[in-house]
Symmetry: C2
Subunit: 482 residues, 2 copies
């Protein structure tokens, strides 16, 4: 570790640009190579607005880099889910019983742009666009790029290479193809794909449905969701099986069948999506995959970060947040080791090198990114199905009451994952799952009162039972794991 | 599906040869290509005897093919674990409280040989050795082979191709490289590798330690095990971390250090392994990986089976058994669909094709092979660590008593997995894990008596509590999963 080290970051997406910014702030020399054109100059999404949910873990990392305020300006707060049934009735389900806990709809492109702008303000950062990484020679620390404009191929040598090149990471592929070490790797696809559609703004440029919610049309085996954009439109996403069920992506091939499907399942949404047929036929069907791997690093040379290390499905709204939190955790590790490095004694120079940093980073981080990957799959089932289940609704009702009346004592699984940004995902998952299990079993066994309007005293009894049962579950799991 | 279909099986190992035998018995025309030489003619293990544990699921499949009797003749029954501590003290722990429940040590080579002999008795089977599959064009049903003797490459076209080509399956690699469909895939390595050593027979050609046991030297983070061979020797396997702990494969590089390690950790074993230094240095260190993937089939053309579809770590002694059970389950599916096929009406011809068989097979089988993969990892921790844990030992003691006195009512997780060959691995895992959790929590909470000599009446009370608690756990898990 040396501030003179030449650092190469592959990818200037959300993670790569935040990482570049943070390393530049720490004084490192950073070169960034991105395969796509500069999204601030070219509209690469071709008119499609892709939005994401930004929440407290992402904001924590943005705050570290001094980017919170600028980011907040392009955020649309979403305070809960608005659930639409087949008859067009809606009911809302807040994300938290505490005030000021909400998630934010944000444009991927706009956020990426302000991060690139900020990174480029630093003299020690250079960002190169239209340069596609073809492979990395991990033993030699050489990345090979192709320039999409000149068609030329050229190598870049660096002291350290970060692969922030997303779910299809070429650094990760090089780990697999070079076979220099035992690389554990998984790619798991859901049987569902997704397709984006649009609810445009009304004539006044305003949102046609509540912009304060994430909208869900849960239908058990599939669902539609919608997130608001700043221009008054909503980006709508259909999650549907490729080949199972009466309607699926393989058989929805005619305009008639598409209309029939939406008329039957999502009549209220259909009336808001004027170009449904064109969009359904022309927009691509995307796959939903989870990638896990280990180790993320090779010696003191390379590190995978963000989606390149852990791509997840979108259902917890945590993909970007987890990648930003990667940068936060890596920064903590650097804070820990850099002072030792400055001592520059013969032995410490060797001990506190990049390998030490990478190893400590993976040890601190891997269990948490594994957890959010699993939580995201859980939430797929929750969103498309459970949100409409009476027992689940009862649980959420109690949780909102507990959070409202005992804001310092009760945090639902959703709150632990989304708003407790200083608790790791793994701990949030373990505690959250045990708590859900406790609550669901207490409700179904009639062990707690679930009357509509409980007094604070009654709620306190519920709280104590839930905490006791949750701790019991955690204790029993621990004993069973010996 | 047609008895005139030309079936190609890649691989004549344990799974490939049993599959060839069974398909031949069902009347199919089968061509088998194997990369290695004929192990009945060439000693390919170069003096190393590799043995495996054969148990009831494997025997069930062998019975189906009329091979049980021949197999039993080359089996050495192992009735339990014999656990060795550092001082050379031993204690035994039976695999079951029921009589006649035991596992068998068997030579991989000998078993493979009798299966090849039996398969070749059928006119409709041809086995070709020294033919290595390089890749499969899955769209065209063409497998490409290289002849290791003539060095020539040649294609084989078939109506259906089975990949029984093991953990490094070339058919599976072709699924990945051809990218014709979304292929979920994982390879996960343990941080431990393994190395084989040998305890030779004594001068009289007899076993030097009990041949009725699987021997374990559990040391928490690593372990040594030994299985008996027919010639009086034992094959010993060291399972040790590559790079963690005081002693590991990376730092055990000198004869002095190897001896120091064994003197300190396995003094009784050391005295029985005369060629330890040569063997340790010359024998390869093997990796321990788990492979899962999905789908196993491509259209009506190809199917992965055995280790090619689901390679697992060896700690439950179920790798071969699971592969043999694959053949049993596939046979059941064929039994179900073949009669329809014989009707040969226009529409049924299309419905009951190989794709229908493959899809039904994977639906029936995948959850079970996923389960045994996870159980095998559990058992790694059990064998190297838990077997020496007082709470765990108490649990096993009670389980042996329960199985002995209530042989029709109680089955430990080990028994469900190993001896209940008609219950799928998934069900065995779910029930077995819940039961372990119930027992461990009842013992640690002093909710059941664990006195040394319980009367049958006292044991019956224990049994009832365990069953009640197990069912409660399963019910609560179900509610929590909504």
């Amino acid at each position: 570790m040396n501030k003179k080290d030449k650092i190469l970051i592959i990818g200037a997406g959300l993670c790569g640009s935040l990482l570049a910014l943070r390393l530049a702030q720490r004084g490192y020399k950073v070169e960034v190579y991105e395969s796509r054109p500069d999204l601030r100059k070219v509209d690469i999404s071709a008119g499609r607005s892709i939005n994401l949910a930004l929440s407290d873990r992402g904001l924590k990392a943005l705050r570290l880099c001094g980017m919170e305020e600028k980011t907040r300006k392009i955020c649309i707060p979403m305070y809960g889910r608005l659930i639409h049934d087949k008859e067009g009735n809606t009911f809302s389900s807040n994300y938290s019983g505490r005030e000021n806990e909400y998630i934010n709809s944000i444009s991927r492109g706009d956020l990426n742009a302000i991060l690139l702008d900020e990174a480029e303000k630093h003299e020690n950062v250079n960002i190169h666009f239209n340069k596609k990484c073809k492979k990395v020679e991990i033993e030699k620390n050489i990345a090979h790029f192709k320039d999409y404009e000149t068609k030329e191929e050229f190598p870049v040598i660096a002291d350290v290479i970060f692969g922030a090149d997303g779910a299809g990471s070429s650094l990760r592929k090089s780990y697999i193809s070079e076979r220099k070490f035992l690389f554990s790797y998984s790619q798991n696809y859901l049987n569902h794909g997704y397709k984006e559609l649009e609810i445009p703004a009304n004539k006044q440029g305003n949102h046609q449905i509540s912009k304060d919610h994430l909208h869900i049309w849960p239908r058990g085996d599939f669902m539609l969701i919608a997130l608001p954009n700043m221009d008054g439109s909503f980006t709508v996403t259909l999650f549907l099986s490729y080949d199972e069920g009466k309607y699926n992506f393989e058989n929805l091939t005619s305009e008639e069948k598409i209309t029939e499907f939406f008329e039957k399942e999502f009549p209220d949404a259909l009336s808001l999506i004027p170009n449904i047929k064109e969009e359904f036929i022309n927009n691509p069907t995307g796959a939903l995959g989870t990638v896990k791997c280990s180790p993320w690093y090779y010696q003191n040379k390379t590190l995978l970060i963000g989606d390149a290390a852990h791509a997840i499905v979108p259902f917890y709204g945590q993909g970007m947040n987890a990648s930003f939190e990667d940068v936060f955790v890596l920064d903590e590790i650097l804070c820990h080791f850099e002072p030792f490095d400055k001592l520059k004694t013969g032995s410490s120079r060797e001990i506190f090198d990049w390998k030490t940093v990478f190893k400590a980073y993976q040890k601190a981080r891997k269990k948490d990114t594994d957890a959010i990957a699993d939580l995201a799959i859980d939430n797929f089932h929750e969103m498309k199905d459970h949100v409409a289940n009476p027992l689940f609704k009862e649980k959420r009702k109690i949780e909102m009451d507990l959070e409202k009346h005992f804001p310092m004592q009760y945090f639902s699984k959703y709150s632990l994952v989304t708003f407790k940004e200083n608790m790791g995902y793994k701990k949030a998952m373990d505690r959250g799952r045990a708590q859900d299990k406790a609550l669901l079993n207490l409700i179904s066994g009639d062990d707690i009162s679930t009357s509509l309007d409980m007094t604070k005293e009654e709620l306190e009894i519920v709280l104590k039972k839930v905490i006791k049962e949750t701790n019991e579950i955690l204790k029993e799991d621990k004993i069973a794991g010996l």
